[in-house]
């Protein structure tokens, strides 16, 4: 039996200028666990995350978080309700140090020392380069900092956009392990990922997008074990990322 939905999108449309990107997205993210959003490039995955976060406003449809409507809320209000975003470009403030990035991420007050210690254990480079400029970190370290910022305060839902994109296999493994540990803290994760091997390893539920719509949703176990379904839903784009 599925857990109660923490987040739900019903008939969400998003326009960006003249482009109609999301064309009626219906998506449910159960509380606890990892929901993976799959789809080819340009399917609307990133737009879905940005629309949930309020960075782009839905032109139609409802977004509910914890059974409350958040469709028209401003991004800071959505963040304050317990949703964090790890964007595709990582959103690191490169002019600031790692420490300053973390200080800003703790928006509600000083950082909790125990939580910070846990994060440094989860991502050792955060501690190692604490006083270094974030702009000098490598791509993998920046990705760790981006995730670390999202979890420096307890969050109910974390939206993560392609955390393994362009990373070395060792860093991908480390990131996967970190997300798995994060999952054990009962944090709900909505993960956009094109690396199916990684996604199927940690995902509980899955939704597949194409042309601005959800074309499939169900359990990850079911999709991972059904090659024909994978082929039907994603074709070559899936194999290319295995």
């Amino acid at each position: 039996m599925m857990a109660e939905p923490l987040l739900s999108l019903a008939g969400v449309h998003t326009h960006i200028g003249p482009y109609h990107i999301l064309q009626g997205v219906d998506l449910t993210v159960p509380e606890g666990g990892v929901t993976v959003l799959l789809g080819r490039n340009g399917a609307g995955k990133t737009t879905t995350l940005r629309t949930i976060m309020g960075l782009w406003t839905a032109s139609q449809g409802d977004i509910r978080f914890d059974d409350r409507l958040i469709t028209r809320l401003a991004t800071p209000e959505i963040s304050r309700r317990g949703i964090a975003l790890v964007p595709e470009d990582m959103g690191i403030f490169t002019d600031l140090t790692v420490a300053e990035n973390m200080i800003l991420a703790a928006a509600s007050g000083p950082m909790d020392a125990r939580r910070l210690a846990w994060i440094k254990e989860l991502f050792p480079p955060i501690g190692t380069f604490w006083n270094s400029s974030a702009g000098t970190l490598s791509g993998g370290q920046k990705q760790m900092l981006s995730v670390a910022r999202a979890i420096i305060e307890p969050r109910r839902l974390i939206l993560i956009d392609e955390p393994t994109k362009g990373l070395a296999p060792a860093i991908i493994k480390a990131m996967t392990d970190a997300l798995r540990e994060l999952k054990e803290t009962d944090t709900t994760i909505l993960l956009v990922e094109q690396n199916f091997a990684m996604a199927s390893g940690i995902g509980d539920t899955v939704a597949v997008m194409d042309d601005g719509r959800i074309i499939h949703s169900g359990s990850m176990k079911e999709l991972a074990g059904d090659a024909a379904l994978q082929e039907k839903l994603m074709g070559l784009s899936l194999e290319a990322h295995q």
Binding site: R80, D95, L104, A107, F129, L137, Q141, A170, A174
Partner: protein, 342 residues
């Protein structure tokens, strides 16, 4: 997390690149040295250098707010000169009210009068900035062409309001007794007021650096300059930060207006738009959004304007533009380009 396979690594910047990054700091002493060689006479050079630094500091005071507003809010405010002019006129009014203090032989009363004028100018221009941002700038966020048009319109309205309140004529503004005259060192005459201007400009620069580097508001401004969207995603209301920064920038322009008015000793409704040419040159030279770059750019413009006015008055007008062209050919984004998220 198992990190056995991950070796912490940081991308080291090559030594040559680090030196190139620091080069803009050396431009000011290099220009001063070039000025000494070209002028030949150390006394004239000292007088011109102090005058140039004072002018640079006053331009920095006016430009610092504009550059932060541009960097953080992506707003091109052609109306910034309005705050300079209004600040000067408010300062003039306060100094006129406190004529007894400014004419007093007491240095403390003289300085108190200037301080009161500065405070009043900053409060009025800060509040004017609030109205300007809410009424004129807020509806045109993200549209540079409209920003240029409406802020120019705001500038014209402000100039006409000055005509209504203070009349259309230029006004003479006297420096307090203690700030008149000059110190004579050898054959060099150094105006007292210019030293005060250098002191105030330097104090402002250090204060801005402290706030930007060591306070959470400063961190938010720096982060917002780079990626305002991400600041919002972290839970901060960036529009509120915009307003605070705009009001602060306007208040600093008001401070610059009082300083510039006392420097020129004549104020007009158009003084803000006239000085804005130099202010924009400084902002562009420094790198849009960079306070450090703005400071160095202002020093360069101040020194070069004074040296060329002495050495070759006919080229003085174009020297600052030539400086801007030269710097942009070297660093197209300005001396200290601010990193912007795509």
């Amino acid at each position: 997390m198992s990190n056995a396979a991950i070796k912490p690594r940081i991308e080291k910047i090559p030594a040559g690149e680090r030196i190139v990054q620091k080069l803009p700091v050396l431009l000011v002493p290099a220009l001063a040295l070039a000025g000494l060689i070209a002028i030949g006479n150390p006394s004239s050079w000292l007088t011109l250098t102090v005058a140039g630094l004072a002018m640079g500091m006053m331009i920095f005071i006016m430009a610092s707010g504009l550059t932060v507003v541009f960097g953080l809010m992506d707003v091109i405010n052609f109306g910034h000169g309005a705050f300079v002019a209004v600040g000067a006129f408010v300062g003039f009014t306060v100094l006129a009210w406190l004529a007894g203090w400014t004419a007093s032989p007491s240095v403390m009363l003289n300085l108190a009068a200037v301080l009161m004028a500065i405070l009043a100018a900053m409060v009025v221009t800060g509040l004017l900035g609030y109205a300007f941002e809410r009424v004129i700038v807020m509806p045109v966020y993200g549209d540079h062409l409209k920003q240029i048009l409406v802020t120019m319109g705001g500038l014209i309205v402000a100039q006409q309001m000055i005509h209504v309140v203070w009349g259309p004529d230029e006004l003479h503004i006297s420096r307090p007794e203690a700030l008149q005259g000059a110190f004579v060192i050898g054959e060099a005459a150094i105006e007292k007021y210019r030293l005060v201007a250098v002191g105030i400009g330097l104090a402002l620069f250090l204060a801005m650096r402290h706030v930007l580097k060591n306070t959470k508001v400063g961190l938010l401004v720096r982060a917002g300059v780079e990626n305002g969207e991400m600041v919002e995603a972290l839970g901060y209301r960036i529009r509120r930060l915009f307003l605070i920064v705009f009001m602060t920038g306007s208040a600093l322009a008001g401070l610059g207006g009082v300083m510039w008015g006392l420097y020129q000793e004549t104020i007009t409704a158009h003084m803000g738009s006239e000085i804005m040419v130099l202010v924009f040159i400084v902002v562009i030279i420094g790198g849009l959004g960079s306070v450090e770059g703005c400071f160095i750019g202002a020093m360069l413009v101040g020194l070069l304007a004074n040296y060329t006015a002495f050495l070759a008055p006919k080229v003085a007008l174009v020297s600052t533009i030539a400086l801007m062209v030269a710097i942009l050919m070297w660093r197209p984004q300005g001396l200290y380009p601010v990193v912007k998220a795509k």
